[in-house]
Each structure stands twice: as structure tokens, then as C-alpha cells.
């Protein structure tokens, strides 16, 4: 019976074990399914942000193409053209003596009450560190010192070569950072983790210091300060956002004007020049290339080394070509404009000529855009002919007509001139704007409108030709802060964490020692994410992405409604999911998985059908005070508000943040021409009246744009996150008593939102 007992015991034990194993498998199966669904949500959230970003980029390209088109086709004296022509004109202050005068800061007095840093030049390490500390404490550097700092920076940058050359000798590890985009928190975090730049701690910063984030100027000042203190150990590359025309749209211009009300305009003008003097690339140990965007199949470092980089002030404004026999041809820009033969196509907004197919100027890239800058006949003809050869996108009929018109009318030019200008420009565009792709080849980057997409074969060829082993670039946001591609020969490095939203991504920096093996450090700036689990992070980010998406749906309400009604011929007010998804795809042109997103965007369906009128009611706009402007007009203005704001800032020539009624009117007329839709005088008057709160005959741009904010009435918006006190307040507390408050919020948050709740909800949904 002992044997029997042993057998029974063994049997039960075995059974129990078996049961446990089965239970484990079950739980694992269940959890993996849950995790997969979270992953999908994270993924499409990411897709949403990226496609919005790209759509916005394309908007900008379209706008500049449109403006360029205006330049081409309107009389030089027309008001509309004058409003915008200044951004296409060469920066008028170009000679050294004038620049020194422009930088003049001596007559700016600093009041005693100013408690920020008072810099003395030459700067030293203590002052640089003090500057960092001051910015950490939310202080602002006085404009006198800003100007002085910029002057010294400019003097230094002018003597730097296009290609920074760095060495890891003396066992120095070099730290490399990617995009910062005005996120001071991230820079501070990097310094905290890695130490500040010094003789023992060299740094390379890979561009895109400004725009989007709110502390762009502070980041620039810090980087410039360290550059001045350690010129042999701090290297700055230029990014595509170090460009004053881009800054008009993406926030840097606005930031500087708001922070420096008196001298902001001057500061911006100086930065315009300084950006153009930033070096283009950095090479470490002649083995590793660091560049902001990337390369193309024609990238040639020898050529890059030779260009006059400062002539390329903006990607959207190629430099005028210099030909030996034409040194004075740019002096008189008015007469110069008339040399363009466009007489058959001239017009103005008051006597509009047909624009031709919208596609003719919208599919043009930054490259094509160079053709709109005023030129001599011969150059114009030459450029267009050359472009027709290498451009992939087809030229409009009108351009071909223009070329042939030119060829028949023009006199043969005796002077020679080379392709160099255009080639150099393309080289620089490629360096600053390109993105890698996974298949072989090299194609124009139509999404960004400049640079190209380059494949692994191009990387291989490039590295071999230049005897390099690795390309480190930035320019694209990555979930984990960095990502390899092209067989680990290309590394994308992004240092702005939480770029799309709190919790959306980590930032990273990399250290390279003499062995040139990258060592990565990842981080996430806001302590709000501390203690948030992966599901929490996903949900937060998703929430924001969906909000943004709902905005898009709102602004296309009218078009969507028409699309739905076309399908719902019997006018039942109901539409099935499939049709809903197809209609949205057609109207929005956003490449997103609508059927996957459906449960997040639609709160309820009856019998699998959606009541679309009710659905629209959930999307609402907080109206500007005027109730008389009809829905479609509001929608349109809202949809194009970035474009509108950009035009405003262009029109605001003195960068004061205010524009006159008349200019405001003109701006709206410009917009209506761009959109090819009527914005009547009544509407314009209505808008003017409703926004002029100053009552002084001028309109504050910021105030006007404030009116366009979406109020979300959707039921999908559940309860605000607890951790949404004003970021500023939170951060300043944070810097004082870091850990304690961190824990405080951690437990406070957890008490309110038990982790298990999310799992519970998941179970309910099954």
C-alpha cells in the first residue's frame, strides 16, 4: 500500500503540476493578446502623428510654391506682391561693416533690476554654466547680452570650415546629440546625465535646435556659449530648421518676438545670417559622418568642402547666381524683375488671370521652386532646361510654354555660367533634408519637398567612396530615441523626447570612443511619465493623437457630409462602417488604418450603422465671437490656420506681431486665391470687427489665431489627466525638491487610477 500511496501521490502531484502549467499557458496567451492590442494602439498613434506632421510639411511647401507663383505672375508694383516679395529678397545688410553695426549692443542699457546673467566677454566655463542654471530657473537673458553673444558667435562661425573634423585621440569620448527642437528640458537632462561640454567632454550637436518647442532661443544661447568657451570641443551642424523661412511657420520667430519685444526683430535678422554660417557636417576620425538629414547618390564631400555655405540662407530661397560679367545685375531689383518675360501672364488679385491647374504649382518641390526667383532671361531658360532633365515630377504645360517662349524671344547670352550654383544648392538640400528608405535607389523626397530618399546601396557606395564606416543623422523622430538601418551603417539619433506628446517617445544621445562603437543613453524628459506604465503611456499619447485626428475630421465636416450623403441616397442618416471608412479615406487623404481606428472615433453604432449627423454634433468648434460667419467658412479658415498664420507673419514685415486692417484684408485675399475659393468682403469685414480688440486699427496676429481653437465636446474625451497642472509650475517645483514631489505625484496618481483598472476594462471589452 506504500507503493499505492506513492503512486497516488505522484499522480496527484503530477496532475497539479499539469494544471499549473495549463493555467500558466492560459494566462500567457491572454496577456500576450492584451499586449498586442496595446502595441497596435501605440503604433497607429504614431502613424497619426507622423502623417499629420507630413501633411503639415506639405502644406508649407504648397504655400511657398503658391507665393513663388505669385512672384512670377504679378506685376512688380502690385500690393500683393509687395506684401510678400521681401522674403525673397536677399538680406540687404551684407557687408561686414554694416553687420558689425547691426550687432551693436552698446547703446542698450541693462536696468539694475535685471537679475539675469550679466555676461562679460570672452566667456568662460563658469559663465556658461551660470547661463544654463539661469535658464533652468526660467530667467531670460537680456537682449544686450543676446546680441553680444550672437556677435561673438558669428565672428567664430565665419572662420569655421564647412566640414568639422574631430578626433577621438587622447581617449576622448565624443557625445553626439540629435534634434532638440526647443525642448530645453531635454538638453538639461542630457547635461545632467552626461556632464556639460568641456575639454574632456566634447560634443557634436546635429541640428534642429529650434522650432516647435518653447525654449528654442535658450537652447541656441547655451550651445553658442559653449561653442565660444570650447571652440575645439563643441561642434554644431546645421539642421533644416536653422532657416528663417521655416521658422516663420514652426514657432521660432514667434517665440523670439514674444520674448524680446523690443529687439526681437534684430535678433532674428542676425540669426538668419548665423544659421547660414553654421557648418554643414562633422566627420569623426575620418570614419564617421555626422549630418542632420542624410545623403544622396550625388553627395560629394570634396564639393561640400568648397561651397560658400553662407550664401544658402534658406532652403526656400536659393541664392542668386553670380556670373563673372554680371556683378551689378542684382543691384536694381525692380528693373531686374522686368527682365522676366511673363507679360502674357501678368495679373493681380484685382484682375485675376486664370492660374492654370493647381497641380502645376503644388507638385513642385523646393528644387523646382528655384525657378521662381527673379533671374535674367538666359539664366531662367538655362535653369528650366536643366531642371526638366533631372526632375522626376512632370512640369506643367505652362512652364514648357514659358521655356519655349523664352527660347524664341531671348537673345543668346554671351556670358558663360555654370551649373555650380544649382548643384551646390542641391548638395546642401540633400544633406539637410534627406531620409533613408529601405529599398535601393535614390528618389526625390516628395513628402518633405526637398532632399531625397536614399537606399542601402547609396549608403554603401557613399561610405566606400569616402572611406567612411558609419553615418549618424537625425531629422526623424524615433520611438526609442535612436534606430539603425541600412545594415547598421546608418544611425538615426533623435534627442527630443515626448516629441509628439508626453510619453510618445524617448530621446537619446550617443557616445563614441576611439573604438567608434556607439554607446547609447536613452531618456524621457518629463517626470510626469515616471511611474506611468506602458499602457498608461500608450493611452495618453493615443488620446492626444485622436484629439488631433478629430480636429481634422471636424475641419472636413462639409466635405464628409457630402460624401456621406452621396452614399446614403435614401437619406436615412445612417451609414455603415465600411462606407464611413471609405468616405473618410477619400476626403482626408490621410493614409491611416481607419477601420482599426473606428472604435476610437465613433462612440456608438446601431446595428453596425453610424448616425452621422449625431456624430458630427460631437465635433464642435469654439466659435470666434462672430456668429454670422457661416460654418464652411469657419471650417476653411480653421483648416488652413497654419497657412494663414504663416502668411500673416510674412506680411508682418517689421515683425511687430501686428498688421494693419488693410494688410489683413490683403492676406485673406491671398488666402482665397490660394484656396481658389471666395472669401467675400463681408466675411473679411466681419472677421476684422470681431478680432480687433485693440480698437487701434491693427490686428494682433496671436489674438486672431487664438480664436481658432477646437473645443472638444466628444464623449470620447473622458476626464482630464490629473497630471495636467501648468507644466511650468510643476517643473519649477520639480527643480527645487525633485524626488519628493516626484514621489508625491506618483502615489497621488496611482491612488486615483489603479493600474488594474485598465486590465479590467480590457477584459470587459473581450
Amino acid at each position: 500500500s506504500k507503493k499505492c500511496y506513492k503512486l497516488l501521490h505522484h499522480f496527484f502531484f503530477h496532475r497539479v503540476l499539469l494544471k499549473a502549467m495549463k493555467a500558466a499557458v492560459l494566462i500567457q496567451r491572454w496577456y500576450r493578446q492584451y499586449a498586442a492590442r496595446m502595441e497596435v494602439r501605440r503604433r497607429y498613434t504614431w502613424n497619426i502623428f507622423q502623417s499629420m506632421e507630413y501633411a503639415d510639411l506639405q502644406d508649407q511647401i504648397k504655400l511657398y510654391n503658391f507665393l513663388g507663383y505669385l512672384m512670377d505672375n504679378f506685376t512688380p508694383s502690385s500690393t500683393e506682391r509687395n506684401l510678400i516679395s521681401h522674403i525673397f529678397r536677399e538680406n540687404e545688410v551684407c557687408r561686414d561693416a554694416e553687420w558689425e553695426r547691426y550687432f551693436s549692443y552698446n547703446n542698450i542699457t541693462v536696468p539694475d533690476i535685471y537679475s539675469g546673467p550679466r555676461l562679460t566677454f570672452p566667456l568662460d566655463m563658469d559663465q556658461a554654466a551660470h547661463l544654463v542654471e539661469a535658464f533652468k530657473n526660467k530667467q531670460q537673458l537680456h537682449s544686450r547680452y543676446v546680441l553680444q553673444l550672437l556677435l561673438e558667435t558669428w565672428k567664430l562661425l565665419r572662420v569655421l570650415p564647412n566640414i568639422n573634423r574631430v578626433s577621438t585621440c587622447h581617449s576622448k569620448e565624443i557625445t553626439i546629440c540629435g534634434d532638440l527642437h526647443g525642448q530645453l528640458e531635454d538638453l538639461l537632462l542630457i547635461f545632467y546625465k552626461n556632464g556639460m561640454p568641456s575639454l574632456e567632454k566634447p560634443y557634436v550637436f546635429n541640428g534642429d535646435y529650434v522650432d516647435r518647442g518653447k525654449d528654442s532661443i535658450e537652447i541656441l544661447l547655451i550651445l553658442f556659449a559653449f561653442l565660444l568657451v570650447f571652440p575645439g570641443d563643441v561642434y554644431l551642424n546645421r539642421g533644416n530648421h536653422e532657416d528663417h523661412i521655416i521658422n516663420l511657420r514652426y514657432g521660432f520667430t514667434k517665440e523670439v518676438l514674444n520674448k524680446y519685444k523690443l529687439h526681437g526683430k534684430r535678433i532674428l535678422k542676425l540669426l538668419q545670417k548665423i544659421f547660414s554660417w553654421l557648418p554643414l557636417v562633422t566627420v569623426i576620425d575620418q570614419r564617421v559622418l555626422i549630418v542632420h538629414g542624410g545623403i544622396s547618390d550625388t553627395t560629394d564631400l570634396a564639393l561640400i568642402a568648397r561651397v560658400d555655405r553662407h550664401r544658402y540662407v534658406s532652403a526656400l530661397r536659393p541664392p542668386k547666381k553670380k556670373t563673372p560679367s554680371r556683378t551689378n545685375v542684382y543691384a536694381d531689383s525692380e528693373r531686374y524683375d522686368e527682365m522676366i518675360i511673363c507679360k502674357n501672364r501678368r495679373g493681380s488679385l484685382t484682375f485675376p488671370k486664370p492660374f492654370g491647374a493647381r497641380e502645376s504649382f503644388q507638385r513642385r518641390s523646393l528644387q523646382d521652386f528655384s525657378s521662381t526667383v527673379a533671374r535674367t532671361l538666359g539664366e531662367e531658360f538655362e535653369v528650366r532646361r536643366r531642371q526638366a532633365e533631372f526632375s522626376l515630377s512632370s512640369f506643367s504645360k505652362s512652364h514648357r510654354i514659358l521655356s519655349s517662349a523664352l527660347s524664341s524671344d531671348s537673345e543668346p547670352e554671351s556670358s558663360e555660367f555654370t551649373d555650380t550654383g544649382n548643384d551646390e544648392w542641391k548638395q546642401i538640400l540633400d544633406l539637410l533634408w534627406s531620409d533613408p528608405m529601405s529599398h535601393d535607389g535614390c528618389i526625390p523626397n516628395e513628402v518633405r519637398g526637398g532632399g531625397c530618399y536614399w537606399g542601402p546601396d547609396v549608403t554603401e557606395g557613399f561610405l566606400n567612396r569616402h572611406n567612411l564606416q558609419l553615418i549618424i543623422r537625425s531629422h526623424e523622430c524615433k520611438q526609442d530615441g535612436y534606430e539603425f538601418c541600412h545594415n547598421r551603417k546608418v544611425l538615426t539619433l533623435f534627442s527630443a523626447s515626448n516629441y509628439y506628446e508626453v510619453g510618445s517617445n524617448r530621446g537619446a544621445f550617443v557616445r563614441l570612443g576611439p573604438d567608434l562603437v556607439p554607446y547609447f543613453v536613452q531618456y524621457q524628459a518629463t517626470s510626469m511619465t515616471r511611474g506611468l506604465s506602458f499602457p498608461q503611456n500608450v493611452k495618453r499619447t493615443e488620446h492626444t493623437a485622436l484629439k488631433v485626428l478629430r480636429e481634422q475630421l471636424f475641419v472636413h465636416k462639409s466635405d464628409l457630409l457630402s460624401a456621406f450623403q452621396e452614399i446614403d441616397k435614401e437619406n436615412t442618416g445612417l451609414i455603415c462602417l465600411n462606407d464611413w471608412a471609405s468616405a473618410i479615406e477619400r476626403v482626408l487623404h490621410l493614409d491611416l488604418p481607419w477601420r482599426v481606428l473606428h472604435p476610437q472615433l465613433v462612440s456608438s453604432t446601431t446595428d453596425g450603422k453610424l448616425d452621422y449627423h449625431g456624430w458630427f454634433r460631437d465635433l464642435a468648434l469654439k466659435k470666434p465671437s462672430s456668429e454670422h460667419i457661416e460654418q464652411t467658412m469657419l471650417e476653411t479658415l480653421y483648416r488652413h490656420r497654419s497657412t494663414l498664420e504663416t502668411i500673416f507673419r510674412i506680411v508682418d514685415t517689421d515683425n511687430s506681431g501686428l498688421i494693419t486692417f488693410e494688410d489683413f484684408r490683403q492676406t485673406l485675399k491671398l488666402l482665397s486665391a490660394y484656396l481658389k475659393m471666395e472669401i467675400s468682403d463681408e466675411v473679411i469685414n466681419e472677421l476684422v470687427i470681431s478680432t480687433d480688440t485693440n480698437n487701434d486699427g491693427s490686428i494682433d496676429i496671436d489674438e486672431f489665431m487664438e480664436a481658432f481653437r477646437l473645443v472638444d465636446k466628444s464623449r470620447l474625451e473622458r476626464g482630464k489627466s490629473l497630471l495636467k497642472p501648468a507644466t511650468d509650475t510643476f517643473l519649477s517645483i520639480h527643480t527645487l525638491i525633485e524626488l519628493a514631489f516626484g514621489f508625491f505625484f506618483f502615489f497621488f496618481f496611482l491612488k486615483k487610477h489603479s493600474f488594474k483598472f485598465s486590465l479590467f476594462l480590457e477584459l470587459k471589452q473581450q
Binding site: 494544471k19 499549473a20 502549467m21 495549463k22 493555467a23 500558466a24 499557458v25 492560459l26 494566462i27 500567457q28 496567451r29 491572454w30 496577456y31 500576450r32 493578446q33 499586449a35 498586442a36 492590442r37 502595441e39 497596435v40 503604433r43 497607429y44 502613424n47 528608405m437 529601405s438 529599398h439 506604465s533 506602458f534 499602457p535 465600411n578 471608412a581 493614409d591 488604418p593 481607419w594 477601420r595 482599426v596 502615489f747 496611482l750 491612488k751 489603479s754 493600474f755 488594474k756 485598465s758 486590465l759 479590467f760 477584459l763 473581450q766
Partner: protein, 154 residues
């Protein structure tokens, strides 16, 4: 005839769902996904395969010479069949509760993190450390530092 229509509709709807789910992971927009994401895609469509099940499916989907990628043309028919045949059905709440109760040998009504970790990283189809950490961060009650599994269910 009505039946045929609805059958076709179901297939079309199903295939559209599959296409959408696939697209989320098709980063290059060239109708291929990394083979390592197949499990996620299948699960996102509502299925609960085990790792072993996935292994078999992937073997079916891979090319003669494994490229590391799965093409949509191969994925669609396989996945359609899985969905239409309702394979890998969801786990019922009762079963899941029982599973937790089995692991809770001492019938405490809750599980210690170490207990759960031991089972899930050693038994069945073991979790990676990362999977375990993630699950714990979502499942552990922060006050008591245990997994109150009963609260997952009503």
C-alpha cells in the same frame, strides 16, 4: 441568394479588417511586414493563439528562403481562413479566473508578484523578462504590492 450576399459581405468585411491591421505594420508601404510582427497582427484581430500556434502559422507564411518578411498575398488567405473558421477563440472570464485560482495554491485570494513571476517565466510558454515587467506594472496593486486577480473580474 440573400445568404450568398451576406456571406460575400462578411468575407469582404473580414478582408478589409485584415488589410487595415496589416497596413499598421507595413512601414514601407510595400505590402510586407516583418515576420516578428505577425503575432501582434493576428492578435490585434481578436485571436488568442499560443506561441506554438504562431510558430506553425509563421512556418506556413514564410517564403521558401526566409527573408524575414511576410507578404500580404500570403497573409491574406491564411488570416481569412483563421477568422472565418473562428480559430483561437477568446478565453472566457471563467476560465481565466480559474487559471489564476489554480496558481493561487494557498487560496489567499491574491498572488504575490514573485509567485506569478515564477509561474509565468518558468512554466507554459515562458515570458521574457520584459513581458513579465510590463505585466507586473499593469497588474500589481501599488498599495498592497500583490496581484488582486479577483478584481479583474466582476
Amino acid at each position: 441568394m440573400a445568404d450568398k450576399y451576406s456571406a460575400d459581405t462578411i468575407i469582404t468585411e473580414t478582408q478589409k479588417r485584415i488589410s487595415n491591421a496589416f497596413d499598421v505594420f507595413d512601414h514601407e508601404s510595400n505590402k510586407t511586414v516583418d515576420v516578428r510582427e505577425i503575432g501582434t497582427i493576428i492578435r490585434s484581430l481578436g485571436c488568442f493563439p499560443s506561441e506554438a500556434d504562431l510558430h506553425d502559422i509563421i512556418a506556413e507564411l514564410e517564403e521558401e528562403e526566409p527573408t524575414g518578411f511576410v507578404r500580404y498575398e500570403k497573409f491574406l488567405p491564411t488570416m481569412t481562413k483563421i477568422l472565418l473558421e473562428r480559430k483561437f477563440r477568446p478565453i472566457t472570464e471563467d476560465l481565466l479566473l480559474q487559471a489564476f485560482e489554480v496558481l493561487d495554491q494557498q487560496k489567499k485570494g491574491h498572488l504575490e508578484p514573485e509567485e506569478l513571476t515564477k509561474y509565468l517565466t518558468q512554466e507554459g510558454e515562458p515570458f521574457t523578462q520584459e513581458e513579465m515587467d510590463e505585466m507586473l506594472s499593469a497588474a500589481v496593486d501599488p498599495d498592497k504590492n500583490v496581484i488582486l486577480y479577483k478584481d479583474f473580474f466582476h
